[in-house]
Subunit: 249 residues, 2 copies
């Protein structure tokens, strides 16, 4: 069976985060973006957490911008010494950092005064960057080429991601799940057989330790719902009935 063709938009996230690498802060932005992109039908294919270093950011962003349709960065956009994301992203595209008049205006409006010079650092963008308004009172997001530069503070990151993801909305993934009561090794051959018949199926197998209800969770996904349900029927037909705990549609 051949699945329908659907748009496949790919994405990557670059987290600029010494605080995450050193274990001081738990990263929640990655998980949030992963879930929102999935809902939008976008395939997140890489998350990189890297140090607050201009050259490292430049290399990573350049590689991701070339390899994926959309790139997000998280963190490193405040007014202090460790906020070097804008400079790194500019370097990735070989552009200078310039002050954006629209951002300067937004800052002046926010502080209702002539801002202190460290705050003006937040008006800097890679030359040629666009501003994306989030449709709320927040500071706009900076976009350069296919890269969206987002702040690391979870509350702001999440608001911006929710707003941006509406732009990327494409045909969604459909998900079915099968919980089984036996070990992975008992079902591996069934999974292989179903994949041979449905090679475009996204099939995951996740063992769970210390769970009374089931031992392995199987996830089946496709953008083509008919193809997905045929694959589900095929797989469930192969697994002995008393090994299936639950089917979630």
């Amino acid at each position: 069976m051949v699945p329908e063709e659907y748009t496949n938009t790919t994405a990557a996230l670059v987290v600029i985060g010494n605080e995450i690498l050193s274990g001081k802060v738990t990263d929640s932005n990655s998980g949030f973006l992963a879930r929102e992109l999935r809902k939008a039908g976008v395939s997140l294919e890489r998350i990189s957490v890297i140090v607050d270093d201009i050259a490292t950011i430049a290399t990573e962003v350049a590689e991701c911008a070339g390899a994926y349709d959309i790139v997000f960065t998280s963190g490193g956009v405040g007014p202090t010494h460790d906020d070097v994301t804008i400079e790194g992203v500019a370097q990735a595209f070989g552009r200078p950092v310039v002050e954006h008049p629209g951002l300067r205006l937004a800052i002046e409006k926010a502080v209702e005064d002539t801002p202190r010079s460290p705050l003006l650092k937040m008006a800097e963008v890679p030359e040629g960057a666009e501003l994306i308004s989030s449709g709320d009172a927040h500071f706009p997001s900076v976009k350069i080429e296919n890269v969206y530069v987002l702040p690391g503070i979870p509350q702001i990151f999440e608001t911006k991601v929710e707003s941006l993801c509406q732009r990327f909305m494409t045909s969604p993934y459909h998900l079915r799940q099968v919980l089984v009561s036996v070990n992975e090794s008992s079902i591996a051959s069934h999974l292989n057989a179903t994949l041979a018949a449905f090679p475009a199926l996204l099939l995951g197998s996740y063992p769970k330790i210390g769970n009374d209800e089931y031992r392995v969770r199987l996830t089946l996904e496709s953008k083509d719902e008919r193809y997905l349900d045929s694959a589900l029927e095929d797989l469930v037909g192969r697994i002995p009935g008393d090994h299936v705990v639950k089917i979630e549609r």
Copy 2:
């Protein structure tokens, strides 16, 4: 002031995880490893979350193995079709995948029978790999060159990491924290001044939204405790006293 020289061991983590990228599972292994390595005095410099794909794993592992002292992988080591980490790591080093007699023995012992063929997949290693016993009843870890291949199931990952980190224990990082009641832009120049005097200081500045106690948390770190305390004294001397909420030593 010049800090003492301490050993600086660097590390990277490669998470093989479609389930994390698609938002179905929240990754807790990265945070756990980050905290354990920090305690051990090891500097985690990169986390990459990538898809369950042999070529992608091979490229990432090869790059990390060349750039960092220690590399960990998480996930993709079970008996099913989506478990391709061993093959990816083998390809990273240009080695074939072979059955390891010690692992086969461990599997036979665990199942108390002749194991089914899918389970025997878990006896496969890149040629020349070593087995590292975790000092408990668990399955040993596979090590090849400077790469430690760990399973993705959090309970097992954590047990193995705790055991492995004892091998890497080096001079620890010391941490001091200063909580301040003002915005980042008000203290940015003080941070820059302290960094000019203490360039080897690891200094982080993390704004917090919606917190009544403080607005920014400053983290100061060094392996040299004397250097660290001099830097702390320098910084606290620059920030007006009524802006300092708390100093954590």
